[in-house]
Symmetry: C2
Subunit: 417 residues, 2 copies
Amino acid sequence: MKPIDWKVTATDGEARAGILKTRRSIIETPVFMPVGTQGAVKGVRFEWLEDELDARIILGNTYHLFLRPGTDIIRKFGGLHKFTSWNRSILTDSGGFQVFSLTDLRKLTEDGVEFRSHIDGSSRFLSPEVSMEIQAALGSEIVMVFDECPPGKASIEVTKKSLDLTVRWAARSKARFTELQDSEAARFRALVAGAERDKSREELRDESRTLTGGDESRTLSGKQALFGIVQGASHLDLRKESLDRTVEIGFDGYAIGGLSVGEEKPVMYGVLEYLAPQMPADAPRYLMGVGTPEDLIVAVARGVDMFDCVIPTRNGRTGSAFTSRGKLNIRNARFADDPNPLDPDCGCSVCRRYSLGYLRHLYQAGEMSAATMISHHNLAFFLDTMRGVRQSITSGTFSRFRREFLNKLQENQEAGV
Amino acid sequence: MKPIDWKVTATDGEARAGILKTRRSIIETPVFMPVGTQGAVKGVRFEWLEDELDARIILGNTYHLFLRPGTDIIRKFGGLHKFTSWNRSILTDSGGFQVFSLTDLRKLTEDGVEFRSHIDGSSRFLSPEVSMEIQAALGSEIVMVFDECPPGKASIEVTKKSLDLTVRWAARSKARFTELQDSEAARFRALVAGAERDKSREELRDESRTLTGGDESRTLSGKQALFGIVQGASHLDLRKESLDRTVEIGFDGYAIGGLSVGEEKPVMYGVLEYLAPQMPADAPRYLMGVGTPEDLIVAVARGVDMFDCVIPTRNGRTGSAFTSRGKLNIRNARFADDPNPLDPDCGCSVCRRYSLGYLRHLYQAGEMSAATMISHHNLAFFLDTMRGVRQSITSGTFSRFRREFLNKLQENQEAGV
């Protein structure tokens, strides 16, 4: 029995539509995963994510949750799902990316990485083994290997050295992960079987049944899945080497790491064009931390299935809305008396009800509802875009969808909004 | 035809239960009105206020809306309801209180008050006439007269002088208000009759029908209602004089202003005990800007029908939750691993789902969801408390409700939370 099940349901060129089943939810791919860094998607309550936006999987950040509230608290609650009450799937990253991007002081050794918490300056340590232990305690459906992420413009020597370390860490991640699975899988089975009697678990069980169609979930092992990460910066030969050595170790899915980390856009697109089609066809391909709506479409065209990015909520907090006509900035004075919604083509609850003029007023007045509602719309736009992508792949019209979508995205820019 | 209709449905001692009908909604009293200072209830979307919390009336602040976005913008949208999309009742204050509490530089004359905007320092002017004009443009269901609000500890001489001015301003408010009503009432009737064809107005009309029970709304004039304000600080004889002179002018309802503005609690309760029962029995009595759950219960016992206060949302933003056992501070370390809800006796969507431990984590991590969810719960607690108050008045058990409610409020304090 496998921890997850992923099947291609349609292809259009290199683009794939598929169904990813985890022990907690059924996820149609290509999928955009909202980011719940600290156990919450910033500004958007789970009720909206479930009922209206219908997100089936979100991302949690091991680094942030490790530092606060800490593994002990989350373990006491019985894992991240019970702690947060989010009962659908969670993918957790390994903490590697944050250690290398958020912390300044660190000591990198073969063993792992010592760093200072960005919260209280305390000295902390992460390694492949520690990351797997934290992610086991979090109880996410998909676990990521602990990797080193070099800058996008790293030289070939630096990248090669980093890649070798990442491959060794991937092997160690898998070894420790495998050891941990029996106990964690047992814990999850107990949870699902109803050994405990609280309401949230009842709900979870009901939801698991609904989402996985009852008996089908029994074909899954109940364990966590582990994804490997391909590094190699902008060096295509190193990307290929990283891919081959990662696949050799063997994982449930494969991620592309180290993109959108400072390199130019054409470089990223070049790596995607080269790398994605070579990745195993029978496993989900996940592009980490990317990106804009354009990026998503381009990557889907290369055969990528999964995405996460903070920009829908981060931009939402700064008043920047993604729309079918491109981005707009709610602070723009031209919106002050505009009765139209953020995006006339969007059916989300924000666009159905609130005007640009009102949202601009809320933003200018410092009302947090501006941030929460623009974040909400942005997530709706990303998730709806992926629904459109899936439908077009299924109906064999992805090329047209892509062309029309990208053309329309230019409209606001051309109008000077 | 009257602009509003208010009927007592039950009394218990001096406490009254009633039904207040406006052109937009039916409101059971005693009622707590959430505060939507700048056209939004801070952190809580209208969807929650309507569907779950079932608030039938909220408050808007003339001072804030006058400064930003300004009357021109709101008039362009067709009033505050259309601007914000809140289609139930709105009460607007006159701006007087904010001018005297938020602005430092001002010139007070018989004519009105000149002040500097707290936003951009620009020089602005408010008077009874200007306030009525702004509130007519806002299109609230209940308009408040423009008053001067002296400090709670003002001397008898200062208070008397202020009271005389407030009475003269009340008469001027009514005169200008009356002039304005024909045109504004016509505008509202056009709105309701469907002269315009946009979706939000359709929804408004549907909702108006539902809430006012169709034909019954036709017994109302469609105009705004105007409430007078009784001042007099802590001087009971001046309170009585203010009441008599305000009633002599004649209003649709009467408010108690100038309480909870720096005076001691027993002083406030003394004024309420003396004043409220003397206020006209056949009109709603509104205690402005008050207060804690205890304050509300005490005031209801003296015959007050309407309340507004920012504390549910203001405290929500600082992590302070109102519960049936008293206040608790979510930052308290003892909650870090607590799986219980904010209030086990609360049925709101926050308490049904989220734990103290999770909410504390969100607060400590700086997630705005902490503020929005604790604000949401606090509003639920205030609105549910008023539902309990109304039921107990109707069933003649208000005294017992009051005793048990106030006793239970002590529990957290005694437990040292």
